[in-house]
Amino acid sequence: MIRLFDFDLSGNCYKVRLLLAFLGLEYEKTNIDYYPGRQHRTDAFLRINPLGQLPVIEDGDYRLRDAQAILVYLAHKYDHGGNWYPTDNPDLIGEISQWLAFADQLTTTASAARLESAMFFELDGDAARAGAHKLFRILDAHLWFREDAGADWICSADEPTIADIACFPYVALSEEGGVSREDYPAIRRWLDRVKRIPGFCVMPGVFPAGPAV
């Protein structure tokens, strides 16, 4: 059975929970009290991940850290239809990797802003918000052009990929960090499309899609 070292309010852990839900995979959770307990800094957890970061998974004897790496692994191993992480097209693999890296930049900006305003982490909230807006403008323009070309998802595929999953949490939670999505209409429409993917699950701070229009 897959084990996820998880913290409920973590958007990075939510990425993994989302893919597991879309794939319908059963798994066990070990709760790491990231806040307020700071359990990710304990010796016991540092032996599991020396970076002191969540999420981590274990699949049998195999252990893996980093949300993006975990998405790649799980999709490749368990998504037999192959739509979440298609590996037959070099261009598409490159594109997905590019947006996975973008998702990690959302962690250092939009997520940092949320940690500062909701959990009082000692971070520069204004710099984090400015950084998030810079990324949101790029994502919004990208999604606008994708829609203009008749496409729904971040990467050049007909179906959503793990790039959509990786970018979703910290965009959807951005308002908790004071990053409004008012100026990003294409982002708002994309968030709604992700929420309508069969199997979608929520976390505190993320709501299900409204009634279909």
């Binding site: 913290f7 409920d8 806040y35 307990g37 308002e175």
Partner: protein, 291 residues
């Protein structure tokens, strides 16, 4: 309002020997805990060391797992929660979350059962069990406290030790302008009640730190599981609170639709008015009458 005690942080989560900064009524405040466990709090006027300038010192006490301070002169101790002293209870300081809305909005939401099925779906409520049945609300004779009793609600997972859904009876107390304590039937012992409190620290007119405290009967789960359960619930409330408009609580009786302003909420708003509360609210007299 200034002459009340306000929570600043969990005693346990406060790192020893460091100066921590926060705000109370918009004013920068610092607090610290030394190696002996002694707590200090003071107004930030530039001095960084705990106790270095006695003229800025604030009264400070520890209650219910939290550090409390005041910028005024309280006429006594913090309101009592007698259950906290019972030997077999799990007393857990469940964590502090920042919310961008007034403290009174957070208290009002805490008092409202109507949102359970929609916001805490599958835990504190479940459609179609959406009805808030008739209950009682009264202000205590000395005017110090609001009490809402016999609040019945169907809950799929009322507590950390629930194994099935149940009709749960709630009692709510509002003994402080920005704090509320609720009592609900314990799944473990039908004669006793679990206690959950929210202590709000008004950091600004439209911002708060919500400190959660549980004093419950739970002989199986770890503290961090209990904390996580409560954080999950408060995490669901946070975006709802932050989307409220106006961000301050309007005290004008007809200011909002009757659905939101249910019975307890009407009494709470009136009680705040009678106590002359002006911080974090829109006082009744200031509201413009719309035709």
């Amino acid at each position: 309002m200034a002459n009340q005690w306000y929570p600043l942080a969990s005693v346990e989560e406060t790192a020893v020997g460091r100066v921590h900064r926060t705000r109370l009524f918009g004013e920068p405040i610092a607090y610290a805990k030394d190696t002996a466990g002694t707590l200090t709090a003071w107004r930030c006027t530039g001095s960084q060391q705990p106790g270095s300038d006695p003229s800025t010192a604030l009264p400070v006490i520890a209650r219910y797992g939290y550090i409390w301070a005041t910028i005024g002169t309280p006429d006594g101790d913090i309101f009592p929660i007698p259950e906290y002293g019972e030997a077999d209870r799990r007393n857990v300081a469940a964590g502090t979350i920042g919310v961008q809305v007034s403290a009174q909005r957070a208290v009002e939401n805490f008092l409202d059962m109507g949102h359970f099925p929609f916001v805490h779906t599958g835990i504190l409520g479940q459609e179609p069990h959406t009805e808030v049945k008739e209950y009682n609300v009264a202000v205590s004779q000395d005017g110090r406290e609001i009490l809402a009793t016999e609040c019945l609600f169907y809950q799929p997972m009322a507590s950390t030790v629930s194994t099935s859904g149940a009709d749960v009876e709630y009692t709510y107390r509002v003994p402080h302008p920005t704090c509320s304590v609720l009592y609900k039937s314990s799944p473990l012992d039908e004669k006793r009640l679990d206690v959950i409190a929210i202590f709000c620290q008004p950091t600004g007119h439209e911002t708060l730190r919500g400190h959660m405290m549980l004093s419950i009967l739970d002989d199986v789960n770890t503290d961090d599981f209990i904390r996580n359960f409560q954080l999950h619930i408060f995490g669901q409330d946070k975006p709802i609170l932050e989307n409220q408009f106006p961000k301050r609580l309007p005290l004008e009786p007809r200011a909002e639709t009757p659905i939101r302003a249910d019975k307890t909420s009407i009494v709470y708003r009136r009680w705040l008015s009678q106590h002359g509360v002006t911080y974090g609210v829109i006082p009744a007299s200031e509201q413009v009458n719309t035709p």
